[in-house]
Every structure is written in structure tokens, then in C-alpha cells.
């Protein structure tokens, strides 16, 4: 199976050089052909595995446990203004 490596890169917001595309394309296609192999197994009548564990989802009571830690949480951001994250303009 061939993969459009440039499309995948663009969806993941990763910029690739031509050389990288040329190298990664066949690698990804190889991985997918391995998946193709798995898909040859007859799984009719087998439930899809939703999760590798058997455990059911643990739930949490609806109680506020997190205090305001804005200063600490924003301290890693490259750009902030009045408690807001500042990012390059995103509107179309």
C-alpha cells in the first residue's frame, strides 16, 4: 500500500524536506503492508478489541479538586498576555 507522505505530514503539521519525504514514504508504506498482513486474518465473529486491558473505565465524582495554578501552568508558554496564551493569528 502506498501512502501520500506529504499529506500525512501536512495533517500532522510536520514540514518535510524532499529527501525526508523520499525516505519516509517507503518506510510508512512498509509499516502499512505489515498491517495489511494482519488484516488477512479472519476475524469474523470476533469482537473488536476496544482496549488491551479488561478493566472497565474508572469514574470520578463531580467534585472540584483543582485550585487555580495559572501562574505555574502558563510559565512554560512562549508568549502570554494578561493570563492568556498568545499564539500566531489563527482566523481565516
Amino acid at each position: 500500500m502506498n501512502i501520500d507522505v506529504n499529506k500525512v505530514a501536512s495533517l500532522a503539521r510536520i514540514r518535510l524536506t524532499d529527501a525526508e519525504s523520499a525516505e519516509l514514504g517507503p518506510q510508512l508504506s512498509n509499516i502499512l503492508s505489515y498491517i495489511d498482513k494482519l488484516q488477512q486474518v479472519d476475524t469474523a465473529g470476533v469482537d473488536a478489541t476496544a482496549h488491551p486491558h479488561d478493566a472497565a473505565m474508572p469514574l470520578r465524582p463531580d467534585v472540584v479538586t483543582n485550585a487555580n495554578r495559572r501562574e505555574a501552568l502558563l510559565s512554560n508558554a512562549p508568549n502570554i498576555d494578561s493570563g492568556l496564551f498568545v499564539v500566531p493569528k489563527v482566523i481565516e
Partner: protein
Amino acid sequence: MSWEVIIGLEIHVQINTKTKAFCGCSTTFGAEPNTQTCPVCLGMPGQLPVLNSEAVQKSILTGLAICGQINLASKFDRKNYFYPDLPKGYQITQFAVPLVEHGHIDIRVGDTEKRIGITRIHMEEDAGKSMHEGLDGVSHIDLNRSGVPLMEIVSEPDMRSADEAIAYLKQLHQLVRFLDVSGANMEKGQFRCDANVSVHQPGTPFGTRAELKNLNSFRFIRQAIDYEVNRQIELIEDGGEVVQETRLYDSAKGESRAMRSKEEAHDYRYFPEPDLPPLQVSEQEVASIRAAMPERPSQLRQRFENEYGLSAYDADVLSQTRELADYFEALVACHETDSKRCANWMANELLGRLKEQGCEIDHSPVTPRALAGLLDRIADDTISGKIAKDVLDAMVEGGESADAIIETKGLKQVTDSGTIDAIIDKIIAANPNQVAQYRGGKDKLFGFFVGQVMKASRGKANPAMVNQRLKNLLAGM
């Protein structure tokens, strides 16, 4: 050519939990930016989501109220896209197996009832807010809303007009408020609607649909749908073709424009959320949620008609919100003798006055007991209905009791026949021409005399007695 309109709606309902879907951050509206965030809802690496049990219960309750099937095992998936208000780079949602499927609600447009199918209700998390206005080359991001729990309620493409779409939306809006699963405040973004709209010739396959995004008032939804229907019909009749796209309605300009032009933006690459095992709910849990289900609007309307003999219209008006219904029932409890009078006075008189003052029923200056006090005075003929309206004005204005206002303003109805006769005698003496005409057969003038007598008594004469005495005295008896 006649076109048929096909509408399906996706509604995002914010679940009114105290905390977010997957972390213990508060959901209080209007807090300082980013003060209700934590490593989980900021998408920091290595954090694990833990689902809010209350959000699950409220989603199940909603599912039961729309007669849906509750999937005892449902799953969460990742919906991948890049936008700065979604810090993880994916939204946790339920794609493959939602919590609720195959529901419906019944709507009424005019005299026609119609069942609208609900394909599914799935749980997901909200994104943050980005702000662009007044900023140069940058956007500001507030992630307080990031991770707030939502239900997405997806309808079948069962609606055939903007009227039906609005009826469906209003019904659902009312339902989630009655169930107390959402504040559903549209201005606060707690109830948001996307509409899928297409047109086709009846008997042919559905046309290509356009998706109208983020419509946040009933009025705009109607306008946006009408605009889109006309746009598509004109396009097709001019030989063009509708493209599948997302469009944003601009309410100021009254038109929509295409957004997310890049096709690949729709490539969400869903895959199972590895951080969350399947959500399991037991039959018993579902049964106990069902057993505790509050009265639904449709049941309430029916009960108001059956129990209190209200017209369909009054029952509808008084069951619009839980608060209105509670007020009405408290009123009837204080004025048991005449529930129709209660309905009339509440729906036609009190609500109008409150609306003028921009006041909601739960902040009414006139309590149910106080309004009942006024109705008691109508019932025992202390005042007429007409005077009662003036008294109600004063009650809304000053918050005094009906009795106090009747007393201080001297509004007590005159029922003494001697006093009424005296007034009538004066009116007859003052209007000899009209009396002659009336006696000559011009019956219509009776209304004139009633008006004169009521005016002379400053509205206080008992109208029934005035009628009766006038008839006799004008006849010369």
C-alpha cells in the same frame, strides 16, 4: 420546480456538571482566563483523563428521556485536528460506539405532530476559546472551557422546513432544562446548533448538503436555514452544483460564506482513545436513573390539560420552563377554586407585566400567594376583573398585597343596589336623548350606559349588577 428541504441538526449541549469531563477543574462561567485549567485540560504530556460520573449519568438521563437505547458498553475515540483552542491536538469524543442511539422526540408545527429521529447522543469535551478582535497578528487563548463536558445530539435528516427545525430545537432545549442536565443558555454557548441543509426533488436521492456552523440563537438558525435553502435552489436552477462544505452564517450581513476550504481539514483520523477503557454502565444503574427521571415537558403539558382543565395553549405557555410550571402549581394551591382563572391571570396578565420589566418568573415581585390573594378578591366580588388589573399593576410596582391596595385606594366594588341605582338615575337624567333613542329600539346604546355608569363609579360598580339594574331602570321599571 418544487424543491423539498432536508434538514438534520447536530446540537452541542453543555452538561451542567461542577467539573470538567476528564479533570477536577471547575466549569464556572466567566472566571478569569485560564484560572480553571490543569495539566490534563491543557494537554500537557503524560496526563491521564478520568471521566466525570455525573456527566455520564446526565447523558444517560437525556438518552432515556428521548426514548433512546443506552449502550451498556460505549467507547471513546480521538478526533484529531490542529487548532490552538484544542491543546492536545485531538478532542476526546465517542465516534464508533456512542452512549445513546436510536431515540426520537415528537414535535408539533401548527396542528401537525411529527416524530423526529435522534440518531445518537455521544459524550465529548469542549474546546477553549480563541479571541482575535483588536489584536494584531496574534490570537489570545483562554482554556477555561477546554474539557467542559458536552453531549452532542445528532438528529436524523427528518426535518423539512425551518419551522420544523426550530420546533425540534425548542423542544430539545426545553427538555434538557427540565431534566436539569444543562443550563442551555444559548448566549453563554451552552446550547449550540449546527445544521445540515440540502434540497432535492421529491422522489430523488437527497442532494449534497452544506453544514451551517455554530448558530447561537433561534432567530439566526431560522435565518441561516432560509438563506441556505434559497442559495442552494438558486445555485441548482442556474445550472450549478452544491458542494459539500462548512459555511459560517454572518447574522449582521444576513448571509453565509464557506469556511474550512481545505478539504483535508475534515480528515480527523479517528482512532480509539488509548487512555480510556470502554465505558461500562449496568442495567441497574440505567434503571435507577430512569426511576428518578423528573417530569418531562410533554407529560407536564398533558397533566396541566387533564388535571386543571387548561387549554392546550395555556398548558403550553405555563409549561415552557420548570419555574413557570412551579409558579402556576403554587398559585393553584393557594386559589384552588378556579384553576382556569389562575392560568388566565398568570399567562395573560402577570407574565406580560413581568416581561415589560424584564423580570423572570422566579424573581416575580408578586408571589403565587399574593396573586392568589388578588384572585380571591375577584372571586368574592370585592373587585371587578377590570379593577383587578389596576391592582395587579400596583402589586408589580410596589410589592404590596392586593388587600392593602384595595383598602388604601378605596377600590372595593360597589354592590349596594341603592348606591348603584343612584348613579344610574343621574346618568339617565343627564342623557335624555340617548334614553329616548334606546327606548325607541336602539339597543346598541346599552353599552354606552354601562360605560357611563362604570365611569361615574370609577370602575368600582359591580358590572353584573350594573347590567341588571340598568336594564330595569332604562325599561322604566
